[in-house]
Symmetry: C2
């Protein structure tokens, strides 16, 4: 007899709308994914954390992989939005770096992206999940600023793009490998050193602007 007719201690079960349930699951899954990666995600574990049974998750996402895909789609969307939004404020260089670093580091986004790239879920052609080149606007804005700063010799756009790519790669790298590289360099580790790295990077970029 599968599923008892009635549970004696049932305190009138709560029932979420599909949207609410999906959102709750996505959020928890995203957190977990940044920690353990797409291979490490366990449905039973996630379900326990949410206080539901694991088939509930399967009910909403069809399969484990379906859940992962959904998380990625949402994360990529959020990344674009947040970046746009914050950049609209046109902050100073170091401020931008701190912002991006915060986005990458503290919220575990660099880890998530790294997991996805390594597991082949992101960055492979046909590039579907990545969507549009959402960094391009940021680079264009940066280029405008450079042009304004030095009216005499026109800066090369390709150079601006390179500098933006360098920034992105350095910050992503820093948020993942930062302490490892510092240790290997006989340096001290930790958040203060991370901040120091950003300050020096901002200075280097400003000096050669």
């Amino acid at each position: 007899m599968p599923a008892k007719t009635s549970r004696s201690d049932a305190p009138s079960r709560r029932r979420l709308t599909a949207e609410e349930a999906r959102a709750r699951i996505l959020e928890a899954a995203e957190r977990r994914l940044a920690e353990v990666g797409p291979e490490g995600l366990r449905l039973t574990e996630l379900a326990a954390e949410l206080g539901v049974s694991h088939p509930a998750i399967l009910h909403h996402f069809g399969s484990r992989e379906g859940l992962v895909v959904a998380v990625v789609a949402r994360a990529v969307g959020k990344l674009g939005e947040q970046l746009q939004e914050e950049i609209a404020r046109r902050p100073q260089r170091l401020e931008i770096l701190d912002m991006i670093a915060e986005f990458f580091g503290e919220r575990g986004n660099a880890r998530l992206i790294a997991w996805l790239v390594l597991s082949g879920r992101l960055g492979k052609l046909p590039e579907e999940p990545t969507g549009e080149p959402f960094l391009l606007k940021l680079i264009e804005q940066s280029h405008e600023r450079r042009k304004a700063a030095q009216a005499d010799r026109e800066p090369d756009f390709e150079d601006t793009r390179f500098r933006s790519q360098l920034t992105a790669l350095a910050l992503m790298g820093e948020s993942i490998f930062g302490d490892l590289i510092r240790f290997a360099s006989g340096d001290r580790t930790g958040a203060a050193k991370s901040k120091d790295f950003r300050r020096r990077l901002a200075k280097l970029l400003n000096d050669t602007m």
Copy 2:
């Protein structure tokens, strides 16, 4: 009845020394690890690739995790050695970058390191697997060169260290996220662009030396 008494078609089985066998397994495991990561490594799969049964691997390494640890230990050792060795040649800046990039990229070492960091097998205190700060010598050498290049104003060692860290982080980041970032920047992808990135990075570092 476990294990038949004799195989009719047995063509006099080859038998490797423990050392040979371990080396063979380590090499294959390292390659696989860079591809699928420590969670993705399957003993049966690896064994099939090597043409042995999977308990043979367990015989030499005790457990799956034991194999992973052995691979990491060997990889870290090799990294230090190779780096030392190549640096002893005192090549030019771009040459160094290409060399490191080749080490990171083509041989999948950045991927391997990334997997290990993400899965918490590398970079955690107490830093045992990392050993000594093997980048320090490289940085010191770089600093000597800077001092020689400009006898007038003495360069700051911390600045040299920063520049080395930036280089390492940028190159590791590039070898993993390079194409993703380029795509997001509306740039073209591929090895040529990767090379171009290195050229620009070398130029930036030389110009601000």
